[in-house]
C-alpha cells in the first residue's frame, strides 16, 4: 500500500480535502478523484494543452503538476468558468465563432484564452496566438479559435444561456 498524503485545495471555489498518492498528477486528481472530466488528457507529454487549468489564476498543464504540489492552492477547471445560467465570454465566443469541431482541445483552449484575457483584456492577434501556443488543435486550423478569443475580448460580460423550448 503506497503511502498517501492529505491535501486541501480550492477547486472551482470549493474547498476539497483528499488523501492522494504523491505520484498522482493533478489532471487525474481532477478527473478520477473529483469527477471533473471536463479537463482532458491529450498527449500526456506537456505539449498539447488539453489538460490546461488555472492554478492561482495562471494557465498550467495539469498533466505536469503533482496533486500534492497544488496543496493549499486554488484550481479552476472548465467546469468552474461559467455558471449554470451564464457562459464565460470565451465560451460564448467559441460557440458563436465556431471555435471548435471535435471539441477535444476546447476546454484547454478556453482555459488558456480565459487566463490571457484575465491578465490582458485587450490582446492583439499576435498576443492571442502566443497565448495558445501551448494548445494544439487538430481540426480548426486555429483561425476560428483566434476569432472566438478576439470576440470574447470585445464582449467581456458573461452571456446568459438561452434555453431553447
Amino acid at each position: 500500500m503506497a503511502t498517501t498524503q492529505r491535501i486541501t485545495l480550492t477547486v472551482n471555489g470549493e474547498t476539497v480535502t483528499r488523501e492522494v498518492e504523491p505520484r498522482q498528477l493533478l489532471v487525474y486528481f481532477l478527473r478520477d478523484t473529483l469527477g471533473l472530466t471536463g479537463t482532458h488528457v491529450g498527449c500526456d507529454t506537456t505539449q498539447c494543452g488539453a489538460c490546461t487549468v488555472h492554478l492561482n489564476g495562471q494557465a498550467v498543464k495539469s498533466c505536469t503538476i503533482l496533486a500534492v504540489q497544488a496543496d493549499g492552492q486554488a484550481v479552476t477547471t472548465i467546469e468552474g468558468l461559467g455558471s449554470a445560467t451564464h457562459l464565460h465570454p470565451v465560451q460564448e465566443g467559441f460557440r458563436l465563432k465556431h471555435g471548435l469541431q471535435c471539441g477535444y482541445c476546447t476546454p484547454g483552449m478556453i482555459m488558456s484564452a480565459a487566463a490571457l484575457l484575465a491578465h490582458n483584456p485587450h490582446p492583439t492577434e499576435e498576443e492571442i496566438r502566443r497565448a495558445i501556443d501551448g494548445n494544439l488543435c487538430r481540426c480548426t486550423g486555429y483561425i476560428k479559435i483566434i476569432e472566438a478569443i478576439a470576440w470574447a475580448a470585445e464582449h467581456p460580460e458573461p452571456v446568459p444561456i438561452e434555453v431553447q423550448p
Binding site: 503506497a2 504523491p22 507529454t45 495562471q58 494557465a59 488558456s112 497565448a131 501556443d133 501551448g134
Partner: protein, 295 residues
C-alpha cells in the same frame, strides 16, 4: 502515464532540503517547477526513491539587482523572468530567451534555475547563461560554493551540481553601457526545443569597436557551449555585417554537431552559422541603441 511511486517531502528550508538529499544518498531528486523532471518521471526514465519539493521553501522566488549584479532565485519561473521590468532593457537576450521557452503554461511553472540545473542540451537558458557570464550559487553539506558558467554544463543533462546540493540562485553582472544582448532560436515546432539557439552579448568601446563579446549556443552539440572562436574573431573589430558574418562561420568550431531526424549535421551547422550572425547583429544594434535589424 504515471510516475513510479516515490516518497514526497516538502521541506521549508534549504538546510532541510540538503539534509533530505543526504539521507537519500543520491536516490532523491529536487523538484522546483517540475517541467523537466515530471515528464522524465512519467516516461520512467527516472525512478527516484523520493522527490524533495522546494516549492514550500520561502525566499527562493525573486529577481534582485544589487552591487552591480542581477540575482535570480531558484523558484523564479520563466514567465517571471520574461516579464520582469528591471531585466527588460538590461538583459534583453535573457528576456527574449525566456519568452521562447516552450509555451505559456510551461513558462508559468518551469523555473530558470531548474532548467539550468537540468542542463538540457537543447534548452534555451544555457545559451544565455554563457552570454551573460552567469555564476551559479550552490548550497550543500560542505557549505556554499559558486560555480562559473564555464564549469557548469558538464555533459548532456549533467550540470556541476552534486546530488546532495541545491542550486539556490543564478547571478550575472549588470551589462555595462554600450552593451546589447540577443537570443535567436530556430525551434523544433512540436517540442519548441531549440534545433539551434544562439545567445550573443556585445559590448562596444567608446570608439565603436567590439570590446567584449560572449556567444552561447544550445541545441547544436551534446551540451550547450561557448563559441570562443566567434568571440575571439570579433574582439577589437568594428561591428560591421561582414565581420559578424565571418565570425559566425566559427560557431561550430571544435563541436561534435548533432545530426538527427529533424536536422542533419550539415543543415544544423548551416543554421547555427546563420543564427549566430543574426544574434550578433541584433546584439550590436541594441548596443548602439538602434532597432533590431531584419533577419
Amino acid at each position: 502515464m504515471i510516475p513510479a511511486a516515490f516518497e514526497y517531502h516538502a521541506p521549508t528550508s534549504v538546510e532541510e532540503a540538503i539534509a533530505l538529499l543526504q539521507r537519500y544518498d543520491g536516490e532523491a531528486k529536487l523538484l522546483a517547477g517540475g517541467h523537466s523532471l515530471l515528464p522524465m518521471l512519467k516516461l520512467r526514465l527516472l525512478q527516484p526513491a523520493a522527490l524533495i519539493d522546494l516549492g514550500r521553501v520561502p525566499g527562493l522566488r525573486y529577481i534582485r539587482r544589487e552591487n552591480g549584479h542581477f540575482t535570480i532565485g531558484a523558484l523564479t519561473t520563466h514567465a517571471e523572468v520574461e516579464t520582469a521590468a528591471p531585466l527588460a532593457a538590461a538583459a534583453r537576450g535573457l528576456v527574449e530567451a525566456e519568452g521562447l521557452v516552450a509555451d505559456v503554461q510551461v513558462r508559468n511553472r518551469g523555473t530558470l534555475c531548474g532548467s539550468l540545473a537540468h542542463a538540457d542540451p537543447a534548452g534555451d537558458p544555457p545559451a544565455v547563461a554563457y552570454a551573460l557570464d552567469c555564476e551559479f550559487h550552490v548550497q550543500g553539506p560542505r557549505g556554499p560554493r559558486v560555480v562559473p558558467v564555464d564549469e557548469w554544463f558538464v555533459d548532456t543533462l549533467q550540470s556541476a551540481l552534486e546530488p546532495d546540493e541545491v542550486l539556490t540562485a543564478v547571478r550575472f553582472p549588470v551589462p555595462p553601457p554600450r552593451t546589447g544582448s540577443a537570443y535567436r532560436k530556430f525551434e523544433q515546432p512540436a517540442s519548441h526545443y531549440a534545433l539551434v539557439g544562439v545567445a550573443a552579448l556585445v559590448t562596444l568601446d567608446e570608439a565603436g569597436a567590439i570590446a567584449r563579446c560572449r556567444v552561447g549556443v544550445t541545441g547544436v552539440g551534446p551540451v550547450a557551449y561557448r563559441a570562443r572562436g566567434v568571440e575571439e574573431a570579433l574582439v577589437g573589430q568594428r561591428p560591421e555585417p561582414a565581420a559578424l558574418a565571418e565570425a559566425a562561420e566559427r560557431v561550430t568550431e571544435g563541436v561534435e554537431v548533432l545530426g538527427d531526424l529533424h536536422a542533419s549535421v550539415p543543415y544544423r551547422s548551416h543554421v547555427a552559422r546563420v543564427y549566430a550572425r543574426r544574434a550578433l547583429a541584433a546584439a550590436v544594434a541594441r548596443a548602439l541603441g538602434q532597432p533590431d535589424p531584419a533577419d
